[in-house]
Symmetry: C2
Subunit: 419 residues, 2 copies
């Protein structure tokens, strides 16, 4: 890279210790004995965490706004407030047995970017915003990714507000109870959206790479599959007179794996849930229900995988019902933003590799309404949604520096050639 | 067969209508709305059924004795009471969703044999006994086949009496509560033991055959098998970095089936129970526990099947624990008694075939201490342990006539050449 091509403030670095300390402070709210966090969406613990974020944002002069589904936007003015904001963010609700980093890292990395710019007294052309999206995890209320889903128009505000938890409390009631039911207004335009996140998978660690340049998110098709056999006593029923539903289910489990391997490298196929009826030691299973989760990077592959699943079910030795229950289209991220992440990692001298997100994230919904990209950093053993979820401070710092540099590139469209 | 070879009373026939009516009368005790019977061992319903049997036995002059585990023996004297009795019997306890025939048929077929002999004023040389064995089903108390197991010395009386149901009631207490805790005395010698039973399998029906000449019972090995993988998110974890316990379990389910087929025609292999952890739609299973039930007609085959199971578990792509939890040796029945059943069916002009019992029965324990054999009759669709269990009156009558003739052969060792 030539010196005259350097983006503005290429030498600026975030404060890794401050980022880490903020992560640890936030993790106190809902901390579990095993070192994780249990902070379900729209509980009082969620309120405490939101209040802490809002206080931190106001400390550095941000304007804070809350929308009608409870999404929080902390805004730092730019020099050209006619430009749509460059946004980053994630979520601070957790799974019941969640960790300190999933979601929280994306929010606090965004805050750390704003803190760094405030310390250095750097103003960007476009305004910057850090978003805290409501109920990404979906542990208390479904659908998951609720706040970003409403923002992106994946479903309506009214639909989301009407959902209830197992105790019968609605999202509308829960928002009011914690004081985060904001004003109803149309989603505002977003110039670019970046989200930093722990990988929640093993690829970066296996490749000893610090930065995952996320090119997009896999499409998903989820199914409920039921095999209909005939229950019978294991003793008196010869092999040739059986209609063993579990034997057919075992073939399907194998087939789901094969279908995924046939669509390498990004095809994925998982049977995660199995119910055997009557589930008795000496009774041949009469009915087996299982879930199938197919994922692929492009819709042609996902469609082919769907056809292969249906074909293998149709060819089974017993009747098999297949019902699709979820469909998410594959979501490529915006090439210029992906390049900004890749180039920023390179300029920072960090190891990086192109990856694809296998999981859903708020960024996947944002990509429907704005250019979007993600930055992954490794997490220990690829584990998340678990109290032992862990990540290295140097990786978190590196990802946050990439976020800073990528946001600066996007927020300074006319360019400033040196800091 | 030459006329001079005819066994005594070859022309004698039981009363099929009386047998059927007794079955229906007994089935009123604990009758369920769906046409089945729920009469758990040593409940007050069991007492009512026992009382009815005892009353019926006394009506035809039988002496009734109860042993310390509650087995009932109704004895009809012979002309030579120095001979050990020729015994038949079964059980009248049922599964919670049991039917009218399982067990009950064997007891009432024995009673019908005695009634027929009483009506015809026929006396056998050896005395005859009808046994009602305590707690064959094992639904309320384990071990199963408790009464016959104590009688045959498979386990001790004290062990059986000390077992408790889920409410904490011991067998000893339950026996006392219904008045069927009899006197403790050594099991008496048995000259021959026959047991008539519905097949509880589909073989006779599939072969349109009335009488199953049971040559013995399959040996059984039961196992608990656990596959240890690593749970991980279905989305972010590529296929090549997975340790999917369910995928290995699917192979084992297939292997158990193959191992059984490798030991045709009597080899049987069943996975009836599966537990997937954490059993979540989008989580790769980290641990799968399953049961394996292997059965074979001879111990060499059963040992080979055990070795094959252990080999396939040892060769699996993930660590697999295998623990054997039950072992029953294969139990051949006594050739002279099996021949008596076969010859009686032939003499009666009934279709018959040699079969093997895949399930456990009281006769399997009795075979440890006396010559034993069984007579199977078809049941509808091979279904039992179900309220829709059903059997045809003509089949039940035919099986009872075979029982009568086989018992006459065994009980008249010096022979009487014509009725």
């Amino acid at each position: 890279m030539q010196a005259h091509d350097l983006p503005a403030h290429a030498g600026l670095r975030i404060d890794g210790a401050r980022l880490w300390n903020s992560l640890m402070d936030l993790a106190q709210i809902g901390a579990t004995d095993k070192g994780g966090v249990c902070r379900l969406a729209l509980t009082d613990l969620d309120r405490q965490a939101r209040d802490l974020f809002v206080a931190w944002a106001k400390e550095i002069g941000c304007a804070v706004r809350v929308d009608a589904i409870g999404n929080i936007f902390a805004r730092r003015a730019g020099t050209r407030d006619d430009l749509p904001p460059v946004m980053t963010g994630s979520h601070i609700d957790t799974q019941p047995t969640g960790g300190k980093f999933d979601g929280n890292y994306g929010v606090l990395a965004g805050l750390e970017v704003l803190r760094t710019l405030a310390d250095a007294n750097v103003r960007t052309e476009a305004p910057l915003e850090v978003a805290v999206w409501t109920n990404e995890e979906g542990s208390r209320f479904v659908p998951v990714m609720m706040g970003s889903g409403v923002f992106a128009g994946a479903f309506t505000l009214d639909h989301a507000l009407a959902q209830r938890d197992r105790a019968g409390v609605s999202v509308r009631e829960a928002l009011a109870a914690i004081g985060y039911g904001g004003s109803e207004q149309p989603p505002h335009a977003v110039g670019a959206y970046f989200e930093a996140h722990i990988e929640q998978g093993p690829v970066l660690e296996a490749n000893e790479t610090t930065i995952g340049v996320v090119e997009g998110a896999l499409g998903q098709r989820w199914y409920d599959v039921t095999v209909h056999g005939m229950e019978a006593h294991a003793g008196p029923t010869p092999m040739e007179l059986r209609r063993d539903a579990l034997l057919v289910a075992a073939d399907l489990i194998r087939d789901v794996n094969r279908i995924a391997l046939d669509h390498a490298p990004h095809g994925r196929g998982t049977v995660g849930w199995v119910d055997v009826h009557p589930n008795s030691r000496n009774v041949i299973p009469g009915r087996v229900t299982l879930t199938v989760d197919l994922r692929a990077a492009d819709d042609a592959a996902l469609t082919a995988m769907d056809a292969a699943l249906r074909a293998t079910c149709a060819a089974a030795a017993l009747p098999v019902d297949v019902e699709q229950v979820v469909y998410f289209a594959p979501q490529p991220f915006a090439a210029p933003l992906v390049a900004a992440v890749r180039d920023s990692a390179e300029a920072l001298g960090l190891s990086s590799m192109d990856v694809i997100s296998g999981a859903g994230h708020d960024a996947v919904y944002l990509a429907r309404v704005a250019p979007a990209a993600m930055i992954f950093v490794p997490c220990k053993d690829g584990i998340s949604h678990n109290e032992i979820e862990d990540a290295r401070a140097d990786h978190l710092e590196a990802g946050c520096n990439v976020l800073l540099q990528a946001m600066l590139r996007a927020a300074n469209p006319t360019g400033v050639k040196s800091a």
